[in-house]
Symmetry: C2
Subunit: 257 residues, 2 copies
């Protein structure tokens, strides 16, 4: 039997606005692609559409930057109000240089600008360029809710990943990573399994949710949000419940801070 | 039109040994999956089968560890002969702790144990457990040769990626990454493209080769090599030639050493 991993972009999703019913839009996208969900399927959602539907927009005109934000903004050459939002979403600033702030996000992972983004974001009223978007408040919870509501409407419990694009320490280019996980093994532990010759694998933990996130991200593209929802079939591992916390390396184990 | 990214495992590849004709084995795998190559397709090869076909096996019984290797082996609790091989493949040891050596590989990227691996490796003669496998000498060249020879036999120039599984600084779990690239844009630069509202994207470089590597890695599995070659169709970016060097962050730009 051919082993295949098939990713399909769900077309026809409109620009998402606060309060939009993302579950219904994805359900319609599945219908228009003639996809009938089966257990084992995965729905991958771009963070941006989840955040927008959840109303995680901030109008910078309403932000009063702290002293710390004003100082950091001067160091990196960013808008102090934007830096205030970034700091409000962060536990710690790990690195800063002109144009770049790398933080430990309040959700635990390390990323640039706490995931706060200007592009493809417009709220209601004010100056268009003043609107920025934060990551979902709790992406695991967003994924779980989406999974439950989609199951209510389709009768099938699928796995759900909420993904973002992150830079890496040593490699250039962003790649898709999971920031919210439901019904999916974020990490697959192969330790103790025999290899082809019976030798026990010693240290293989696979970041499966991040691998599927990267695959979906490649199909989403980055410049726009015309393909923010991807259906995935054929993940060759048994599914179980999982969470972002599996993927976040504890600070004490992190050799590269 | 439905946008789809389809990854197919090429079945029927035998255990690879030095001198094996990987191009012919992949060609047969494509035939048995009824896949006719078209321009834009990608063949993703696990590093291990490339390295094995190229004879990159080392018998530790023939390795004489240096003083430096003996000392480092004591610190991390590894076989000094294995550490000698690791050091011979490395430019610099970045971190060490019991059971783990993280290096800058001579190819420029950062990885554990210089990619030298025990699992699923057996050479001819000696004690089975003494054989280890190094990465290909020049994975970009391996990818280019594979691409040329496959084009000679099929008439179609596809893109080729040689991939390995690497750990990450801040996230748990390994993910597939490209270590050899031919006919594929390792990095896609979206800077300057307008977003949906005309705002210019400022700093989006996508690690496309790594995203496709991660996707293929998810389908390959990790515990064995029954699926070491993956055919990919539907990458939604124009292809061009590329190389590993696009993905390696120069030391001077690396904020996390």
């Amino acid at each position: 039997m051919t082993m295949r991993l098939v990713l399909s972009a769900l077309s026809g999703l409109p620009l998402i606005r606060p309060g939009d019913d993302l579950v219904e839009l994805v359900r319609r996208g599945l219908v228009s692609e003639a996809i009938t969900l089966v257990p084992g399927d995965v729905i991958v959602l771009a963070q941006k559409v989840v955040s927008k539907a959840e109303g995680r927009l901030v109008n910078l005109a309403e932000v009063r930057p702290s002293e710390a934000a004003i100082q950091l903004a001067g160091e990196v050459g960013k808008d102090p109000r934007l830096v205030e939002v970034i700091l409000s979403e962060s536990r710690e600033v790990l690195r800063k240089r002109p144009g770049m702030i790398i933080v430990e996000h309040r959700l635990g992972f390390v990323c640039a600008n706490a995931g706060v983004d200007h592009s493809n974001v417009r709220g209601e009223g004010g100056r268009p360029e003043d609107w920025v978007l934060m990551l979902p408040a709790d992406p695991d919870a967003s994924a779980r809710r989406f999974r439950e509501r989609l199951a209510q409407r389709t009768g099938v419990e699928v796995a759900v990943l909420v993904i973002d694009s992150h830079g890496r320490a040593w490699r250039k280019g962003t790649v898709g990573v999971a920031i919210g996980v439901a019904g999916f093994p974020a990490l697959v532990d192969l330790r103790g399994r025999p290899d082809l010759f019976g030798y026990l694998l010693q240290s293989t933990e696979v970041g499966l949710a991040d691998e599927i996130a990267a695959a979906a991200s490649a199909l989403m593209g980055q410049a726009d949000e015309s393909r923010p929802a991807i259906h995935v079939r054929g993940v060759p591992y048994p599914l179980r419940d999982g969470s972002l916390s599996e993927l976040v390396r504890p600070t004490g184990e992190d050799l590269f801070r």
